[in-house]
Amino acid sequence: MLDPLQATLRVGASGLEAQSRRLRVIAENMANAHSTGRTPGADPYARRVITFESQLDEAANANIVRVVSIEQPRTTFRVEHMPGHPAADANGYVRLPNVDLVVEAADMREANRSYEANLQAIRQAREMITMTLDLLRTT
């Protein structure tokens, strides 16, 4: 695909896909913000972080974005004193997920803005293609 405007559409679509997968990971983190283990001392849900990288798309001859990995960063779990909980250890402490809802909300807002920016790029390329084709129609 040699047309740079068509390539813009392809790049924008890859951005949309990347950001929607990011939103999925954020939603998983938020939904599992209180998911503990079931046995004493078991690990709770670990927060996941998505990473992206640039990749040359051969067909479009442009750098698209793709998801590299969805990793679990090594941060400590929160600990709360809840005796009687199935996951409580011998001293009555339960390990809770390392999910901070404020961080997730900020991340979600960023994913939303990035999605909007990619949509705008697609919209712009589409408008430019249509404008150019209109040259054939009106003259």
Partner: protein, 109 residues
């Protein structure tokens, strides 16, 4: 696909002629285009329309995959938009060609 229009179009687009159309570039482009014309007009149109049909067919299959849930919304929109642009381009070119033929038929003999 060899069509005589493309060389002149690239000549118009080339950065050396930013201030206006450089006539020498256009002329050499046209000469080069006519020298290597081996494909007739109807073959070119057939190739163009078969490619357009392929893009539209792809958009259809991706749309169906989207309804079935195997393709993402973004993929469906991308494929349908590609089909839309191809169709618009094909229609615009067809209108131009038909207008040219009509113009010929109106010629005084």
């Amino acid at each position: 696909m060899i069509d005589p229009i493309t060389p002149s179009a690239t000549a118009v687009r080339s950065p050396a002629t930013a201030g206006g159309v450089d006539l020498t570039t256009v002329r050499t482009g046209l000469v080069a285009g006519s020298a290597e014309t081996g494909v007739d007009f109807s073959t070119m149109l057939t190739q163009l329309s078969s490619r357009a049909a392929g893009v539209v067919r792809n958009a259809e299959s991706v749309s169906i995959a989207g309804i079935q849930g195997t393709a993402t919304v973004q993929q469906v929109v991308e494929a349908v938009m590609a089909a839309e642009h191809t169709l618009q381009g094909a229609i615009a070119i067809r209108d131009k060609v038909v207008a040219a033929y009509l113009e010929l038929s109106r010629m005084q003999i």
